[in-house]
């Protein structure tokens, strides 16, 4: 019950914000005054109606995971986000080893198998991508400078990095 009410409210706010943004869409002579806004406004309107319906006719709550599992998922998201920005400065092998190992540990918390799957996956996929599929330019390895590493990491910090 409560889950759906919160979800409906969040989506309602999103829909209203979307409608507000749609009214601000810039137009010019070629597009006409109204046409670029029409469909986004319709989508926002339908979404708002659906959100209201979900708020007032909620389904039973799903089984949410326990606090520890939320923690494991948050770690997974953080690791993947760092992995995403580190792929460019550090190349494929080293970040993949860490990320695959941590993910493996989050799925099945045993150290040995996690280390093995980290090493195995990074080297195995490297060989697969570089030699079998010829994607060497994507999985190249690099030795970065500290400044480049910081630049990449700063992308994840709001208002500091990002280009």
């Amino acid at each position: 019950m409560a889950s759906d009410r919160i979800f409906g409210l969040v989506m309602l706010i999103t829909a209203v914000a979307y409608i507000a943004a749609a009214t601000q869409i810039q137009t010019n002579f070629f597009s006409g005054e109204f046409l670029p806004k029409l469909f986004p406004l319709m989508i926002g309107g339908v979404a708002a109606l659906c959100s209201l319906s979900i708020m007032f006719k909620p389904d039973p709550d799903p089984d949410w995971p326990a606090a520890r599992t939320w923690g494991a998922m948050a770690v997974a998201v953080a690791v993947l986000a760092v992995y995403a920005v580190m792929l460019t400065p550090l190349g494929f092998i080293f970040p993949t080893m860490i990320a695959a190992g941590v993910l493996s540990y989050q799925i099945s918390p045993r150290v040995g198998p996690a280390v093995l799957s980290g090493i195995g996956l990074s080297l195995g996929l490297f060989v697969l991508f570089k030699y079998a599929l010829g994607l060497g330019n994507i999985v190249a390895y690099r030795i970065p400078t500290a400044a480049k590493l910081w630049d990449a990491f700063a992308i994840l910090i709001p208002f500091v990095g990002g280009h």
Binding site: A22, I25, T69, T88, L103, I107, L121
Partner: protein, 501 residues
């Protein structure tokens, strides 16, 4: 005969050694993807698209590879249904009902071979149906104007939404999320950015592959973290594999009927393979009556859903190729592939790119034969692969997804966006909001808006133009019926639960 000439053209494209090699690779990969729980046809194909693209395959080769994967996944889903009582993908759910009891009774090999043959019959008949029906439908679709297309897209969302969720509001909201995302980017008529919030990365819009891989593959990782890799329960041992001729002969009419039912279910926009296998099973159950022994390991209970499921998979290609409206989640992903390759599905595809269409159809026929050969004698190899533990499989799939998306643009932004879609997908699925309408919305949003805008321009802003032709009115009525009917039919169409023991 037109068809034979076209088919000859198709085989001339598809029978080169290179494309044959791709078809065999695709079938093998597809069967594995279908068989592994947690890696269904939609996310399997989605992960492979960027890699195919980076390999620089031409349009025909890429299509051959991916449709082989698609058909292969439909075959593969049954393996874990029968041996582990876990459907490898959603359409294989119905196969657990009789497949697992039969395997427990010591006839796992028979069940696998029988379901393989049923898959072959279903897929073969559906491919023939596709050959006969698609060109006709393409000729009809020539007369569709913007009003008809707008109503058709609406119909796809309504029927898909009606089937996909237990709550119509959630299904409609899912479609709106997808459509809303599709609007982001530079508007083609004014050349000005829309809804980007000034972020330069968003000017090109959000790539649908990023959304698909995030919603399907990355979200799956969170589900596995939640379940801690359980679900890889101990299954039934497979002793030796022989061909159960008696069962195959006894179920021949079942296979034919189920193929027909499945094909029709597949053609309906938005319905897809799950509905096909469900309807085929229910039809055969009522034909056989209570003496049929359905649910206790009946041969017909294995043949019907597998023939229906594979036939629906072929049927779902009909609206996708002729109208550009996919009939299921996986065909939506295949549509994404076509768009990536700059091929616009629709009636003109059959005249302008006849080589692509008929090459595709010929390769489906080839893939089907390869799959039968692969799935009967080699089934033991696939059973071995099933024992790959989740703690290797899921990180591996994630890393492949990252490399695939990274290879598209080389930008960290797409990767972060993909993780965002993964988190979104987890919450949506938890809250019983279907994710396939989101994908369909992102894919079709641009075309749907384009149809609406052209209709408004042609009619000088008259809304009644949208209801001005009998075809358009028919689509509107079907759309409303497709959206409303499941509310009343829900009790009737309730999916039976798998065996718990």
């Amino acid at each position: 005969m037109d068809i034979f000439a076209n088919l000859a053209l198709g085989f001339s494209v598809a029978l080169s050694p290179y494309t044959l090699f791709l078809a065999v690779c695709g079938c093998f990969l597809g069967t594995i993807i279908g068989a592994l729980p947690g890696l269904g046809p939609s996310n399997g194909v989605a992960i492979l698209i960027p890699i195919t693209f980076t390999l620089g395959l031409d349009a025909t080769s890429a299509l051959v590879l991916m449709t082989a994967v698609y058909y292969g996944a439909m075959y593969g889903g049954r393996i874990s249904s029968i041996l582990l009582n876990i459907p490898g993908d959603e359409p294989a759910l119905m196969t657990t009902l009789d497949g697992y009891p039969m395997a427990k009774a010591g006839r796992a090999g028979d069940a696998l071979v029988l379901s393989g043959v049923a898959s072959f019959v279903g897929a073969l008949l559906a491919t023939i149906g596709l050959m006969l029906l698609a060109p006709t439908l393409a000729r009809v679709a020539f007369y569709f104007g913007p009003a008809e297309y707008f109503a058709l897209y609406l119909l796809a969302f309504c029927t898909l939404g009606g089937m996909a969720s237990n709550n119509q509001a959630k299904a409609a909201l899912a479609a709106c999320i997808g459509l809303g995302i599709a609007m982001i980017g530079v508007d083609s008529s004014s050349g000005l950015p829309r809804l980007t919030g000034g972020n330069l990365h968003l000017f090109d819009g959000i790539d649908f592959l990023v959304a698909i891989v995030g919603l399907f593959a990355i979200a799956e990782v969170f589900f596995f973290i939640e379940s801690h890799g359980k679900g890889s329960s101990i299954g039934v041992k497979l002793e030796k594999v022989t061909i159960p001729w008696k069962d195959i002969m006894a179920t021949k009419w079942t296979m034919l009927r189920a193929s027909g039912v499945g094909f029709i279910a597949g053609i309906l926009p938005g319905a897809g393979a799950s509905l096909g296998s469900f309807l085929a099973y229910m039809t055969e159950k009522s034909v056989a009556g209570p003496k049929g022994g359905f649910g206790t390991g009946a041969a017909k209970g294995i043949a019907a859903p597998e023939a229906g499921n594979n036939s629906a998979a072929g049927g779902a290609l009909v609206p996708m190729l002729t109208l550009g409206v996919p009939g299921s989640g996986t065909t939506a992903v295949l549509l994404a592939l076509l768009m990536t390759l700059n091929i616009t599905p629709g009636p003109t595809l059959f005249t302008e790119r006849a080589d692509v269409v008929w090459g595709l159809i010929a390769s489906l026929l080839i893939a089907n034969i390869v799959l039968l050969l692969m799935n009967v004698p080699m089934v033991k190899i696939f059973v071995k692969i099933l024992s790959v533990p989740a703690w290797v499989l899921l990180p591996g799939v994630t890393m492949i997804s990252f490399v695939g998306i990274y290879s598209l643009s080389g930008s960290y932004f797409d990767l972060l966006l993909m993780i965002g879609f993964g988190v979104l997908g987890y919450f949506l699925r938890k809250l019983d909001v279907p994710t396939v309408p989101v994908i369909l919305g992102i894919l079709l949003g641009g075309n749907m808006e384009d149809a609406l805008r052209r209709a408004m321009t042609l009619s000088d802003g008259d809304v009644m133009y949208l209801f001005s032709s009998p075809i358009a009115i028919g689509f509107w009525i079907a759309a409303i019926a497709g959206f409303v009917a499941p509310m009343f039919l829900r009790g009737l169409l309730k999916k039976p639960e798998g065996h718990k023991d």
